[in-house]
Structure formats: structure tokens, C-alpha cells
Amino acid sequence: MVDVGTQGVGAVALEARDLTLGWGDGPSVVEGVDLAVLPGQITCLVGRSGMGKTTILHALAGLSVPRKGCVLLHGDDVTGKPGRVSYMLQKDLLLPNLTVIDNACLPLTLGGMRKAKAREKARPLLERFGLKDAEGKWPSQLSGGMRQRAAFLRTYLMGNDVVILDEPFSALDAITRADLRDWFRGEAADLGLSTLMITHDADEACMMADCVYVLGRLNVSAADESSPATVIGRVEPSRPQGASAAEFALTPQFLEAKVRVMEFLKGE
């Protein structure tokens, strides 16, 4: 178990306390997960496949009720309440039957806003999200990177300051992925978002994050695959001010952080 720090209630944007999660009657997938996303920061949760990363995402997004523990948003208990944090998956989940702008506006129109007004609100953001000429296009006409940016705009328009991303870049080609990482870091800082990003890629976690949590098996000695997972380590890459993700990846500080994350991942 890892100490999430001694910050006061208001100092943490999103917090998981002692989360134990599982599906149906099955065994627990994760046990005693503690983690904290600080305001304005990017926090990464790294773990191998099958470690329950998506299970944790579901609980944090309020889509499932934990067996034990709670989820706090700025100190408020939001356990099992969907819609308080925005989330985005590897799949862009754009609706094929809506144009790009209407997809992005969806959180607004679903909330009852008139279509014209929602579009008006989203339109100035299109350029910022690199979707200037895509407004009236169908999602099938966009490249993977643009689709993901449209999905991110939709996520942003959900209007929550806390955002959870589940492997948002892993379906993209390497160059687009690198572009989007930096673009996202910039936008998240500008828009004042607090981000939790889930990934299996230690490189990506260290490049992007201000703070990395590592998931591993709770019971290491039992070579038992079904042993539940928990947070086994926490690493804070010492990122120089203003360094882009790509630049930071070339520094010794990055390597040092990565080595520590890898040690946790292997040590389990």
C-alpha cells in the first residue's frame, strides 16, 4: 500500500480510497487501491494487461459500485455516481451517425441544450483541437488522430475538470501518438484539467505524467494469476519546467523514472 500524501481534502482533485473491486460474484480484481490525482496534474496508472486497469476506470467514473472503499471528487463522495468525471477510451466511440461537431456537442445536447447553441459553444474550440475543417464531416472521414481529438473535445465539453483517459493513444500510429501526447499535455495545462491516464506503457507514463502509480499483484509469492492487484509503487518523474514529452524522454531524469517503474513492474 502506498501513502498518497498528507494533503488536505481540497488539495486532491480525484481520490480513490481503499478500493476493492470485482465483477459479479467473481474474486476481487483489485484490492485496497489508494491513489490521488492532484489538481492540474497528469497522473498515470501503469500496469500489465489484466491487472484491472479498466475495472478501476469504471469505478472512478462512477459506473460501478466498489465492494469496499470510496471515490472522492474534490472531497465529495461520488462513489457509484456516473457523470462527475469525464472519461475517454482507446476507442473514440464517436457516433457514426453524427457529424464531428455534433459528436463533440453530445454532452451538451444530451443535457438539454439546443443544438444550435451547443454548436455555437463548440465551434471556437474546433480550431484549438485541430478540427477546424472537420466540423460538418462524418467521423468515418477523419484520420485516427483527428477522431481521437474529436473524442477529446467531447470529453472536454462534458464540463468536468477531472478527466480519466484509458489508453487514449494506443490505437494510433507512432508519429500521431507522439504529436498527441505533447498536444494533450499542453491543452490539459491550459484548460486546467486534472488527468488520470491509464496505460500499460511505462515509457508513455513517464513521458506524460507528473506522478506514476504502478499496479501489481498483491500476493507476489503465490504465482497465482488470480491474486488481486493493488498499487505497489509510486514514482514522480522530475520533469524540468516546460519540457515537452518528447524532449523529456531524452533526459536522464526520464530514464531514472522509467527504471523505477520497470523495477516495480518486474518485482511483482
Binding site: P82, G83, S86, K91, L95, P107, K137
Partner: protein, 258 residues
């Protein structure tokens, strides 16, 4: 020759070739004319009998349209209920499948017995055979939706109705139109079968009459009309599909380019 020109030209030539062979076989007397009339004879018979055929066609079309409309509505309602309520799905799934193992041609005489010779038995038969493709295709369409998509909608505070309207209905649109095309052709055929077994007007009635007078050219003329009606109805569904799903056009284009 471009690929699109080829796509039109080849089937047209094949069709014309078939007609030419048919015409030739009849002209050369390989098959007696009273058994198989030549295409030209069929056209002549059709033109000669246009006013009568038109009257019967209207009857058949009305039956098919009313039956199909009711069948689609019933299929739609059943599909929505089956998607919304698991109990409905479990209860109805086997019954609906079972209903389709009953041959329409066997039920038709019963319907005549119960409902007489008017419009009603025809409509009932058409409803019975057209609701199925619509219901089945819609249910599978509703169920094809990615559960993650529904979770995402929930985090955007979407209501059950909004999830239906924005996610499920569009996802089911493509299978729905595929099912509707099947139902549309069934509707015409169903009307004709019901008319064979009893009625005062309609292409099925006309066919029965001309068969009894051994006017095989007129038989073929009515078969031709039935084919054209089915194709027209299919075309109409195709137009409707394109109007209702504008995003599909771009998807198809994008796929082709890839």
C-alpha cells in the same frame, strides 16, 4: 471502360442475352408457344391487357402496402420490447422463430376461412410474414451496440430514451433496412399467394383466371408485373435507406478508397 460503367454494362448485356436466347428458342419452335411464350408475346399480352392488369395491380399494391406497414410497426414494437425487457426477449424469441416455421401457403386457406375474401385475410398474412425480418434484424442491431458506448452515454447523463435515440436506433438502421428489403419482397409475394386462395381482385386472382383459360402469355405478363413491383419496392426502400442514413454514403466511399 471505367469500373462503374462495367458494373452497369455487364449485367445489362447478360440480361439482354438471356432474353434473346429465350426469344430465339420460342421463335424456332424448340418449345411450343402455349407452354412458354416468347418475351415479345408476353409484352404484347401485357400491353393488350393493361387496364385490367392495372386494376388488379392496385389491389395487390394496397394489400402489400397496408400489410407491410403494419408488419413493420409490429416488428419494431416487438424488437424494442425485446431489447428493453429481458423477460420479453426470453418469452418471445422462440415463439417468433416458431411462427416462421409455419408455411404461409398453409395458413392462407385458414385465413380465408376466418376472414373471408376481402382485404383482411391478405393483410393478416402479409403482416404475419413481414414482421419477422424486421423484428429479428432490429433486435440484432440493438444488441450490436458496444457496451462501452452505453457507459459513455451514461456518464454524459443520457436517459434511456436518449441512449435509444442516439446510439441504438442508428446502430440498428443498417440491419433494419436489410430486413425491410426482405419484408418488402415478401409483402408482394404474400399478397399474391393470399389472392390465389380466394379473392375478387388482385394479381393473384388475375393469374388464377388466366391460367384457367390457358393464357400463358398473360400468366407471364403478371409474373413480370410482380417482379417489377418487387423491384420498385426494393428501390423505394433503397432510396429511403440513403435518405435516412446520410453518413453511410461517406463510409462506403472511405472504404472504397482504402
Amino acid at each position: 471502360m471505367g469500373p462503374s460503367a462495367k458494373r452497369i454494362l455487364v449485367p445489362t448485356v447478360a440480361m439482354l442475352a438471356l432474353l434473346a436466347v429465350w426469344e430465339l428458342v420460342c421463335r424456332l419452335g424448340v418449345v411450343p408457344a402455349y407452354l412458354l411464350p416468347a418475351p415479345s408475346q408476353v409484352i404484347v399480352a401485357l400491353i393488350a391487357d393493361v387496364p385490367t392488369i392495372w386494376q388488379h395491380t392496385v389491389t395487390t399494391l394496397v394489400e402489400a402496402a397496408v400489410g407491410l406497414a403494419i408488419g413493420v410497426v409490429i416488428g419494431f414494437v416487438l424488437a424494442v420490447l425485446m431489447d428493453r425487457f429481458e423477460t420479453f426477449y426470453l418469452a418471445l424469441q422462440p415463439l417468433i422463430t416458431l411462427s416462421q416455421t409455419v408455411p404461409a401457403i398453409a395458413v392462407a386457406p385458414l385465413l380465408v376461412l376466418w376472414f373471408g375474401y376481402g382485404l383482411l385475410p391478405k393483410v393478416v398474412l402479409i403482416v404475419f410474414i413481414t414482421f419477422f425480418p424486421v423484428a429479428v434484424s432490429l433486435v440484432s442491431g440493438f444488441r450490436s451496440v458496444d457496451p462501452d458506448q452505453i457507459d459513455l452515454m451514461r456518464t454524459m447523463h443520457a436517459t434511456t430514451w436518449q441512449i435509444f435515440r442516439y446510439v441504438k436506433l442508428p446502430a440498428a438502421a443498417e440491419p433494419f433496412f436489410a430486413g425491410l428489403k426482405i419484408s418488402a419482397t415478401y409483402a408482394i409475394v404474400g399478397a399474391v399467394i393470399a389472392e390465389w386462395l380466394g379473392g375478387f381482385s388482385g394479381l393473384g386472382v388475375y393469374m388464377t383466371r388466366v391460367r384457367k383459360s390457358f393464357s400463358y402469355d398473360k400468366m407471364f405478363a403478371s409474373i413480370l408485373v410482380i417482379s417489377v413491383l418487387s423491384m420498385a419496392l426494393l428501390g423505394l426502400v433503397g432510396v429511403l435507406e440513403r435518405v435516412c442514413m446520410p453518413w453511410k454514403r461517406e463510409e462506403r466511399k472511405a472504404k472504397k478508397e482504402r
